[in-house]
Amino acid sequence: MAGRSALGKRTAIIRPGLSIYPGLMVSVLLLLLVCAVFVAVITTGLEQNTALSFDGVGRLLAFTTAQATASTLSALLLGTLLAWSLNHRRHFKGRRILLALLSVSMVLPTVVTALGLITVLGRNGWVNQGHLWLFGQDSGLSIYGIGGILIAHTWLNAPFISRGLLHRLEGIPVERLKLAASLRLSPWQRFKIVEWPALSVATPGLVMTVFLLCFTSFSIVLILGGSPNFNTLEVAIFEAVKLEFDLTRAAMLALVQLGVCGFLVMLAASLPQRSSAIAPPSFFHMWPDPIAARAIQTTVIVFFSLILTAPLSAVVMDGLHGDIFKILQDRLFRQAFLTSLIIAGLSSVLTIACALAIAATRRNLGSNLRTRQSNLSWLVGWLISFMGTGYLAMPSIVLGLGFFVIFQNLPMDTDHLAPLVLILANVLMALPFALVVFFPAMQKSGQRYDKLAFSLNIRGLARWRLIDWPSLRSEIGFVSALSFCLSLGDLGVIALFGNRDFITLPWLLYQNLGSYRTADASVIALVLLVLVTSVFLLLPALVEKRHHAGT
């Protein structure tokens, strides 16, 4: 009986009551905010005669799409290979470090990644220096242009795909692996029959997310594009605002950007939701693969380890060679450091609060125990869950542009509102990821403990303290670190609003790069790298530890 979902005359006695309102209010407020931005962009984009030729937009759109497609395919190929290799090689020294590196690379500020890649693959980079030393001539390799963009996007996104697919592979029920071994399936047959069905469930979502990330990529294209020929829509919007001060052109480009992203998000939402059996990760020891397969796995793992560590090592080494003490004492650096910490901290707290409220409302509306199911509750639940992913369709630069336009029309000094815009943009950027993490955990906790909690009359704050917080603490730790790091590395909105008085570390780093103060930029990059790595690896552990100390 407990498993029944459709109810007929079955009605719930427990009312969701006040518990659905915080999430509903947060959703409505964010929706209004996004609508305001959308209206600002659309009215600006359509208010004057178009100065934008179709060819210009077509070329930008074509290049943006082409680079995003190529980047996604390349990240998918390498990410899948790495996930497959790591799944088959579960016991080697450094595996955990490699996994941690994969996670860190996902949240590393893109401007730091770009700097690391320049040090390795730039004109005077390690590869060219090595080539010169070995063969007496320059290799001709250049990081600037389409090649650099593809390499950087692959470097940033292959780890993301790899982690997602590895999770699926590790979750294949152990009985299936045993069956495959007992049938003596070759590695290829095993991949086709056992592993691919597990991977194919997660692949469309991952591909869509990575494509969207590459399509809306800003910092990488800004730094490594090198020429207007390699401009994407996002960079063209930035240039229209900051260099040409042509808000109409910027708004029109933003509308194109919004249209494409909206279409992609809807496409992703309409993908059939297939499920496959997934078990908790098992450390079932696989039968050894043939030597050729093992050679491929080793090569992939070594190759990836080098590819991942080289730019990070470059950032560390260059940073340590810079004048660290001079930078640390610099007033502008201190100001940027403090601003970054405050903005990232507030963004993280706000993201967690909003995501928890929305996830709780979504859970409560979907629970047969709590809510009398009706078309209205279904509609509200759908709206909330759609808005969770809908924000992905609003790139931060478009959001920034919307606020920029709104501020232009306000009869007051709006400089002091810039931090607020940055925080809101960071929250909207991190919210879809936070919801993806929180909602399943909250739903699981509800399914497991709702009946017991209701029968014991555990409600309100007691419920949060005794049930929800312990059930969600590791997710809260992870999301707080994730949103902190994403906020810390943002270069999109600050590029529109940054000035001498309002400056963050990525913006300061970009300005130093732009004025060829590479040594100073290297030190700032090192600070960002250390900060992000420490927060991402230590914060979740601290949350866990604090909980255990408390019980």
Partner: protein, 217 residues
């Protein structure tokens, strides 16, 4: 005493329709055993009494008081589910304490009651153990200890011992019998094993075609 007076419950989804009619009286200190096929309505009956489902019509009375409109937490009943009876992340004594004080700020008397309840189920030595480390039988004992401190007059057992091995199951049944007698609880035991009814129930009912059929014990 627990009384179900002409409880009617209609259920339908896309694939099935079912109608139930429950009439039952369980006196204090008595155990009524209910058996029946899967889907016969055993757990539905427990869900209606405990407040997780509302009946279309009829009355539920405990010691003469109508409880049908109360939310689950305020009904004078304790439920032992088949699984998930404990909060895994809490300690054993904290799980028991939730039966009397959900804030877990306990008075001396409450602490004493918890210790006594754990002694009664033979688990005082595991008082400070994390609940997730307990065996299945131990977890159900802790849940029973909680029902002791909660001190509610009706005990509902929704196949709580079905996953236990024969020896532990035997111990649990005898423990339940003892607690029901000590505390004078009106108890409803849902089980798929007729032998359970024969061992501890005063009355045995079979759920057939949506209604109780009396069987001999």
């Amino acid at each position: 005493m627990l009384e179900l007076e002409n409880i009617i419950f209609h259920y339908e989804d896309g694939t099935q329709i079912a109608d139930y009619c429950f009439d039952l009286k369980i006196k204090t200190g008595e155990i009524a055993g209910i058996t029946g096929r899967s889907g016969s309505g055993k757990s539905t009956c427990i869900d209606i009494i405990s407040g997780f489902l509302s009946a279309n019509s009829g009355r539920i009375l405990v010691d003469g008081q109508e409880i049908g409109q109360l939310p689950p937490g305020l009904r004078p009943v304790t439920v032992l589910f088949q699984k998930n009876n404990l909060f895994d992340h809490l300690l054993v004594h904290q799980n028991v304490a939730l039966g009397i004080n959900t804030s877990l700020n306990l008075s001396k008397n409450e602490k004493r009651a918890i210790t006594e309840a754990l002694e009664r189920v033979g688990l005082e030595h595991l008082k400070d153990a994390p609940s997730q480390r307990l065996s299945g039988g131990e977890q159900q004992r802790v849940a029973l200890a909680r029902s002791l401190v909660a001190n509610r007059p009706v005990l509902l057992l929704d196949e709580p011992f079905s996953a236990l091995d024969a020896e532990v199951r035997e111990e649990m049944l005898s423990l339940v019998r003892g607690i029901v007698s000590d505390k004078n609880l009106a108890t409803l035991l849902v089980t798929h094993d007729v032998n359970d009814c024969h061992k501890i129930a005063n009355n045995h009912y079979d759920l057939k075609d949506g209604a109780f059929v009396v069987r001999s014990v």
